[in-house]
Structures are given as structure tokens and as C-alpha cells.
Amino acid sequence: MEAAMSTPGRGLTWSLRGRGPADVPVVADPGPWPPDSGGPAATGRGVRVCVVDSGVERDHPAVGRVDGSWVVVKDPDTGETSVRPTETGDSCGHGTACAGIVRRTAPECELHSVRVLGERFSGTGDVLLAGLRWAVEQGFDLVNLSLSTTRDRFARELHELADQAYFARTVIVASAHNTPVESFPWRFASVISVGSHQEDDPGLHLYNPSPPVEFFAPGQNVPVPWLGGATIRTTGNSFATPYITGLCARLLSAHPSMTAFQLKNALYLSAANVRFRSLPSLPAGEASDESSESDEPGELHRSRESPEPPEPRLAAGADGTGN
């Protein structure tokens, strides 16, 4: 934020002086569309998703149309990175797998690919950083990053980039590392971080009450598209992440004004392990009391068997509202 502080007058609002609420109106999305009301379907339509990974195979039947393919190239002499359009596909299969999971979760989204692996061995995080920065600068709605770097020296730049993306409404959905090591950017609060659960339900996501990783999604034995038009099964946090990216794409297609924090809230409210306490039943005429006994632990009311989130303003579409 240093750069922003040094350039006042660009519309930054450090405090609201001389203006009132009427001067800063926000038109939010409406609540959930009632069934059969003709509202937008939560299919991902109109949502631009970028997969930053090993590339995406072209013409894979389980991926479908790829709207744009780029590659980060690093000059071996100067070390400078640049992003170019590419006709090459996937160097490994990993990016194709991620794209396929996004596609089947949000069938009508736009899919783009930035390849940050496979040009040659590039164990440093600068290629990853360059690809992610480019994706944020392009203003994609969602960036799927099933990768991280363990290199500390990239942590600060990644952190600043993640914050920049958060406020610019480019939501970075990032995989937690599969082993208990420090890596980035999934550790940052400004991204949506994802790990695997071990359940067989391909439509189940969970909220983690003990972050940093915030959500768990299917990541075990997941069927995915692979090189050569094939489908294989694979395991890892990498494959849980694009499922959450796909859910976010569905949410955004029905509610395009949602911010990153609203998306997180919708994922939280629709998570299968988030239960809601029942309202205290009060005698008529009595005011509600926060300390009423129904708030005690153990009073969790399992009233929500349906995955439909009960907070309609935010959660519509997280589980297929609009279908």
C-alpha cells in the first residue's frame, strides 16, 4: 500500500469528509431469484476464469473451449519475464485437469490459461509471480492457482498482489500446499484458500474453522481430463481448488456484483459443516436477549439438511441455485 499512499488524489478515500452516505451509493445484487422466475442461471456464464498452471490442452472434450492461452517466458540472459500468446497446450496435464474441473462445475464460464510451468525448468517463483500478476492486471473475475511457492523472497510481492486483486475484484482461489510446509500465496487472507477433504461426495465443500486454509473440497481420486484427450483420476489439493473456483464462477454468474468477501461468505454459508443456531422462542412481546440460554454451546440446531444456504442474499447459486 506504500505506492497508493504516495499518490493521493486518485480517488482514494481515506475518510469520508464533506460527503454523506448518499454520495457513495452502492447498488448490490438482488437476493436469490425465486425458482422459475427467469433469473440468470448460475452456470458461470459471463464469468472470466484464468487458470495459472501448466497450460491447458486444446480441444479436450472435457475442457471445451479455451478462450485464451498465454505463456510466461523468461529471458535466460536478463531474467526478465514476459507474457505472450501461445499455441502450445499443456506440458504436464495438471493445468488441463484444473481447467476441466472448473468447466464441469461452471459449464458456461470463459476459460483462459496462463502457462507458468514447462517452458524449461524454472524452480524460482518469479515466473509464477509474473503469470499471476498478468492475470490480475487483465481483470479476470477468478484466477485458479493450484500452485504455490516456498520461496520466502516472493512472499511480500505475492501478498501485495493478492491484496491488489482482492480490491480489484479479481478473486484468487489458491491451493494449500499438500505437505505441511510454508508456501504462498494460499496463506494470505485476501485469497480463497483450498485443501482436500477425504469424502467421496463430489459436491461437498466444507469451511475450516481453523484457518489459514479456509475451505475443503473434493481432492481425492478425482476424475479429471488429462493429456491426449484422456481422463484419469488424481489426488491432491490442486484438484480441490478448481471446484471452489467453479462454485465462485456460478455465484458470480447469478450475482455479478459480488465482492471477494461476499463470495467467501456465500461459500461459508453453503458449507456442509456450517450449522445454524435456532432463534430463541420468546414469549410474545419480549425482546430478544443475546444471553438467552439458546445461545449456549450444544444448542446448535441442525435445521438445514438441504444444502440451500439460509442466507439468501449472499448464497444463491453456491449450490446450484438457478437450476
Binding site: 496435464g93 488424481t234 489426488t235
Partner: protein, 211 residues
């Protein structure tokens, strides 16, 4: 190649193969300068002829693991006609399932441990991924004990070339020739540390196999 190094790496792949009931297991070391992964030890299929083979480190599943530093399990690979054709041709063996984990030292990737065709009960679960990653971590620790960070290159297979020192921050390509490599590694290798490393692996094998 120094006998102790060879023994250590062979122990790693033999144990990995045993733990997962696999058809084969390999250790690749990363030649960062050349951008290649080098078969350094093989147990099972290909054991006789694969050591020393190289392939680009940016490609394939082992390449992804090396670059990302993440473990990975894939299954049903034989349905993929394009699966690692070049590698499959060179190894004359196409697995149906493959597990791969990075050998990490201080955040740096030394190489990749790969397990081909693990037994069906050892496939495609988060638990197996964890187990593989844990074993790879132990193997990397054993390598670190056995080969001190002296800047010496890894000796090449059969003394015919080399892989830059994976434990060195100043790897400069395959410079550890037939003379320098083994000599440097051998002189730096203390027999007690070698024994420690091998004991570490033996203990690990016992624990993991429940013996």
C-alpha cells in the same frame, strides 16, 4: 559413483517400492543448469538400463512435481494415449498409476521420488499422498545427512558425467566429472553419517511396514 551414495539412493527406491507394493520406484535428481531430471536409482522395472537417462525437467508428472515442489498421485494413466510417450519409449514401461513426490531440502528441490504402479490399495487417496510425501521427506533428510553441503557435484552414474550438487546453492551444471565427483563425495562422506542415513531409512521401513 560413490558406493555409499549409490547404496543410499538404492535403499530409498527399494524401500519406496516395498512400502507401496509397487512395480518400480525411481529417484531422479535435478540438474537445474541443464533443466533435466536424471534417473539416479531405480528399483524394479528398468533397473538394469535406466540409471543415467535424462529427460526435460519441465515436462511430465515428475517435471511438474520438481517444478511445483508438490507431491502428486495419478491413476488410470493407460487410458491416456499421449502419456509421456517419449519417456515411455525410453523406459519400455508405461505405468497405469504413478505417485511422485519432491525431495526437498530447505525449500529447494533436489529431485523427485517416483513410485510406479503401487498396489491397488495404495492408490489415489489423500492418506497415500501424505505417506509418500513423508517418505520423500525422510529420504531427502537421509540424502542431506549422507552428502554434506560441500558444493561438490553429485557423481554421475558409472562415473561418466555428473549432476550438479543438489545440496549446493551454487550448482554449475554437470561439472562433477569422473574424477572430481566421486573423489569429492567420498572425501566428504563420513562413514558414521552414511551409517546414520541408512539406519534412518531402515527404521522408517520398519515403521511404515508395521514390522
Amino acid at each position: 559413483m560413490d558406493a555409499a551414495c549409490r547404496e543410499l539412493l538404492q535403499a530409498v527406491v527399494d524401500v519406496a517400492r516395498a512400502i507401496f507394493g509397487a512395480a518400480a520406484s525411481s529417484v531422479f535428481l535435478l540438474d537445474e543448469e541443464a533443466g533435466e531430471l536424471v534417473f539416479q536409482a531405480v528399483s524394479g522395472e528398468g533397473e538394469e538400463f535406466l540409471v543415467g537417462r535424462r529427460f526435460p525437467a519441465g515436462r511430465g508428472i515428475a517435471g511438474w512435481v520438481a517444478v511445483s515442489g508438490e507431491p502428486m498421485i495419478v491413476d488410470d494413466l493407460t487410458t491416456s494415449t499421449a502419456f509421456d510417450r517419449a519417456l515411455a519409449e525410453s523406459t519400455a514401461y508405461v505405468p497405469d498409476a504413478l505417485m511422485a513426490a519432491p525431495l526437498l531440502s530447505g525449500g529447494r528441490v533436489l529431485g523427485v521420488l517416483e513410485v510406479l504402479d503401487p498396489s491397488p490399495q495404495a492408490r489415489s487417496s489423500v492418506r497415500e499422498l501424505d505417506l509418500l510425501a513423508m517418505f520423500a521427506r525422510q529420504a531427502a533428510a537421509a540424502l542431506r545427512v549422507a552428502v554434506p553441503d560441500a558444493g561438490a557435484g553429485w557423481p554421475g552414474p558409472d562415473g561418466t558425467g555428473g549432476v550438479p550438487g543438489p545440496l549446493s546453492g551454487t550448482a554449475k551444471g554437470p561439472v562433477a566429472g569422473p574424477a572430481a565427483g566421486p573423489a569429492a563425495a567420498a572425501s566428504a562422506l563420513d562413514s558414521g553419517r552414511r551409517a546414520d542415513a541408512l539406519r534412518l531409512l531402515a527404521t522408517l521401513e520398519e515403521v511404515l511396514r508395521g514390522e
